[in-house]
């Protein structure tokens, strides 16, 4: 049987790549330290497959066909298409169709109906945390796209349940492989809105405290506060799915950087799954 060996979360601000030279030395240092440590932890978990949960920033989908959740089933995915990601080493990224198929099958048996894609392009949201975490070569990736970009969004509670279902899919997968989960996006930021550039550090810190507490107050907190924070914070849904997969326990902050140069309250975390992992 497959084993869940690690659960992680990371911000993915484009300006970490596109505007790195404009980031202050202090913030460069904090971000580098956090992203390197995140990468180190993922590598130490030795995953045979990495499930990644990230939004699609208008690369694969448009408003003529916009899935709430889509699982990447392909043998291979395309690397990032953004011109400013051309230095990214991932041009073609191996997938894991058998695990992806099992995840979709398990989802359907649990009354979820995800979309499927046999050929996805993995944009900066998927690739920046892996690249900056020093994961090269990459393990095969099963990408799962959550719509955090164009409202209405999946509910926070539904995302939590998706995560729990994902853990069940891993537990019931018949091959003896090690599987990790990385959720990307968040924390507070605002893109293309009147509040663009505003970071709500008190919100971010409170959000982190709720993750650490590990009870359902996190759902109520996000239901109340997400509509009042910039649109980028919608990506915290991906962290919620990771939290659900980890059984809502063991959240550990690796680093937080209120980084106005990249417009994002950047957070990096892992979940301690206990000695059994």
């Amino acid at each position: 049987m497959a084993k869940l060996v690690g659960v992680y979360a990371s911000s993915h601000a484009p300006l970490i790549v596109r505007g790195w030279k404009d980031v202050s030395p202090r913030n460069q240092q904090d971000l580098t330290r956090a992203m390197t440590e995140l990468g180190r932890r993922i590598k130490a978990a030795r995953p045979d497959v990495l499930i990644e949960i990230s939004p699609d920033h208008w690369v694969n989908f448009f408003i003529n066909n916009l899935p709430s959740i889509c699982v990447g089933m392909g043998e291979e995915h395309e690397g990032p298409a953004e011109p400013w990601m051309k230095e990214c080493p991932y041009k073609k990224i191996a997938g894991h169709p058998r695990l992806a198929h099992h995840i979709v099958q398990t989802a359907l048996e649990h009354d979820f109906e995800p979309s499927m894609s046999h050929h996805l392009t993995l944009d900066h949201g998927f690739c920046i945390p892996l690249w900056r975490g020093g994961l090269d070569p990459l393990p095969p990736i099963v990408p799962i796209i959550f719509n955090d970009i164009e409202p209405p969004f999946p509910t926070v509670r539904r995302c939590l349940r998706w995560g729990a279902m994902l853990a069940e899919a891993i537990r019931s997968y018949p091959e003896d492989i090690r599987v990790a989960i990385l959720a990307t996006g968040g924390l507070s930021h605002s893109i293309g809105e009147p509040t663009m550039g505003e970071i709500d550090e008190p919100f971010d810190r409170e959000c982190i405290r709720h993750f650490e507490k590990g009870d359902d107050s996190l759902v109520d907190f996000l239901n109340e506060r997400l509509p009042t924070i910039g649109n980028g914070a919608a990506e915290i849904r991906n962290w919620i799915a990771a939290h659900g997969a980890a059984g809502k326990r063991g959240f550990e902050l690796i680093g937080y950087c209120n980084c106005p140069e990249v417009y994002v309250g950047c957070g990096f975390a892992s979940w301690n799954l206990g000695a059994a992992a």
Binding site: H57, W58, V59, F62, I63, N64, A81, P83, I149, E150, I191, G192, E193, P194, T195, M196, G197, N231
Partner: protein
């Protein structure tokens, strides 16, 4: 509210760097290919961030003005002014 063809224009421009180059060289030629309403087209031609912001996803809006070549500081100023104007309108009913 989403204007489909305006959204499609912005989506296509950010999806295709060559189209972006063509657009910066001859905006009118590209705009002719999209079924934009006259008010919408006029707003695109005058870079009316506030008008466009009410009709497209904010990420597409942001990508569009990067592709169109608007300096970041100018975009930030205009999008923030758009928000202030919308707030003023809503406070006056």
């Amino acid at each position: 509210m989403r204007d489909y063809w305006l959204s499609k224009l912005f989506f296509d421009l950010q999806s295709s760097p060559p189209l972006g180059e063509e657009y910066r060289a001859d905006r009118k030629k590209i705009l002719d290919r999209y079924h934009l309403g006259p008010e919408v087209r006029a707003a695109v031609e005058r870079d009316d961030v506030a008008f466009l912001a009410a009709r497209v996803n904010p990420y597409l809006l942001r990508f569009y003005f990067v592709v169109a070549g608007m300096p970041e500081a100018e975009f930030l100023r205009k999008v923030r002014t758009a928000g202030a104007a919308a707030a003023a309108r809503s406070s006056h009913g």
